[in-house]
């Protein structure tokens, strides 16, 4: 009887105030979608960091008038440096070749630049890309060195932007979560008010608090879980329509989002949706279920 009563109360509760229930589910779904999307972005950015940092280089540009002994000395020093994993020397001719490839769409620029005006350089791959500062300090004053450029500095800027987007998505999820919480609280208050007589009777006949509160709490949990399911559908649609659709051309730049990544987010969304709804409903009832 107990379980039957509780479950029938949940269904009646959800249906009795259907517009409020729909509003609660939609708000919850939007909030959880934002949460899931920001979770995916965290994973995505971490993957991208791994991918990009693995391939970044530190470039030591030499003066255009650098002498061969200075180049040789640097080569020897770099070969024995424990911070450096790999060194490639790019002479003026190679640098010009790369320049031509890079600016093949701008023939005027190519014709204006001569091979002699491009500096030779060393392209380094570091054992640990974060030790750029040590390399910089070691080589900045070396004979023949003009400038040291670390690509990770550029990447940091990109990742700063991505981090900001992540934070904005999280902030939006938090704001939506507050709206969802208020809606859950309001819906439960309305439900508790409309059932105040039944609640009073149940209290009088000695029903425990959990027995009285269970239908209301479960009602909120069901709405939260439906919201998380809708959030999952939204993420699937985003992958299908955006990442595998209009953003497909960027697949070389963006690390791919797998179906596994999306499914991994569902327990998080369902857990957050369910727990937050349950706690909100329970706290609300503490104030409103007094005989």
């Amino acid at each position: 009887m107990r379980m039957k009563y509780v479950l029938s109360e949940v269904l009646v509760g959800l249906w009795r105030n259907v517009t409020m229930t729909i509003a609660m589910i939609i708000t919850m779904a939007v909030s959880l979608t934002m949460l899931g999307a920001s979770g995916l972005m965290y994973r995505q950015v971490d993957d991208m960091k791994d991918l990009y940092y693995k391939n970044i280089e530190v470039s030591i540009f030499l003066k255009t008038d650098v002498s061969q002994p200075q180049i040789d000395a640097l080569k020897t020093k770099l070969a024995g440096d424990p911070l450096v994993k790999e060194t490639v020397y790019v002479d003026k001719q190679e640098a010009y070749k790369r320049f031509q490839e890079m600016f093949q769409d701008a023939p005027d620029l190519i014709s204006a630049v001569k091979a002699d005006s491009l500096p030779p350089s060393f392209r380094l791959k570091l054992v640990n890309p974060e030790q750029y500062k040590d390399i910089y300090n070691q080589y900045k004053g070396a004979e023949g060195v003009d400038e040291i450029v670390d690509q990770s500095k550029l990447l940091d800027k990109i990742f700063d932007i991505l981090s900001s987007i992540q934070n904005i998505a999280l902030a939006a999820a938090a704001v939506m979560a507050i709206a969802a919480l208020l809606l859950v609280a309001n819906t439960i208050q309305v439900a508790a008010y409309s059932k105040r007589r039944e609640v009073a009777v149940m209290k009088l006949v000695g029903a425990s608090n959990w027995f009285i509160q269970a239908p209301f709490v479960l009602e909120a949990v069901v709405a939260g879980l439906i919201g998380s399911l809708l959030g999952l559908v939204a993420l699937i649609a985003a992958k299908y329509l955006l990442f595998d659709g209009s953003l497909k051309a960027l697949q070389g730049l963006l690390s791919p989002i797998s179906w596994g990544d999306i499914m991994f987010m569902f327990p998080l969304m369902a857990g957050v949706g369910g727990v937050i709804s349950a706690v909100t409903a329970w706290v609300t009832l503490r104030f409103y279920l007094r005989v």
Binding site: R2, E198, K203, V205, G206, A207, S208
Partner: protein
């Protein structure tokens, strides 16, 4: 006679509005007591304090020698479930349950098996002239029928005290008298103590004793039946 339930100098306020200002009352085991008084005098608040629904701001409530006012909410819930019964002005049946399930509710909540609880509940339908109403829901019952179902629910678990707050207030006089006769007969058969809040002298006449609550205080008891 043994005192079954007692309030000693109970004070209770709703916010800043005092409802009880030092109410004291003692009810003997098996006694039927009528609590009368004008609207807003505090008689229902006194009943709620005695039943452990409200906890007085100060003063003591004793049931069978134990302090109800210092019990936890869980202990008071189990007291209401296992040792008290309730009947109110409007039957206040749970609309999702059948009449039989409503009657069986206190037993089901006490963990009695469903078949056993319903068997006991069905016995009360016959006793209160409600044969054939067992599967009806509250919307399908008349006021008098619903009140008798509520009475059956109040008595089904064999409570030691039955709290009745204006049990005939929503009924016509004939039906009200019928319900009162059933209530008094059943209570006497079971030896149940009854605390009956009413403002109708006709209803109070069924009691052994009558007290008047005025401005949150109980006046000197007056015995109206031997």
């Amino acid at each position: 006679m043994t005192v079954m339930i007692e309030a000693r100098n109970a004070m209770f306020s709703f916010g800043r509005t005092p409802a009880l200002r030092g109410a004291s009352i003692a009810v003997d085991a098996g006694e039927i007591l009528a609590v009368m008084g004008p609207s807003g005098s505090g008689k229902s608040t006194l009943l709620h304090c005695l039943a452990g629904i409200l906890v007085p701001d100060s003063g003591e409530i004793l049931f069978d020698g134990a302090r109800v006012d210092s019990m936890t909410e869980t202990e008071r819930s189990s007291l209401r479930r296992d040792r008290f019964g309730f009947v109110f002005q409007f039957g206040q049946l749970v609309p999702e349950l059948t009449a039989a399930e409503n009657v069986a509710l206190p037993l089901l909540l006490s963990g009695v098996r469903r078949t056993e609880a319903l068997r006991k509940a069905y016995g009360w339908f016959e006793r209160l002239g409600l044969d054939g109403m067992e599967q009806r829901r509250s919307g399908e019952l008349s006021g008098g029928q619903a009140q008798r179902v509520a009475l059956a629910r109040g008595l089904v678990a064999g409570p030691e005290v039955l709290f009745a707050d204006e049990p005939t207030g929503a009924l016509d006089s004939l039906t009200g008298e019928h319900v009162m006769e059933l209530l008094v007969t059943a209570a006497r058969e079971q030896g149940t103590t009854v605390i009956l809040v009413t403002h109708e002298p006709r209803v109070a006449a069924y009691a052994d004793r009558e007290v008047i609550v005025r401005d949150g205080r109980v006046n000197a008891p007056e015995r109206i039946a031997p």
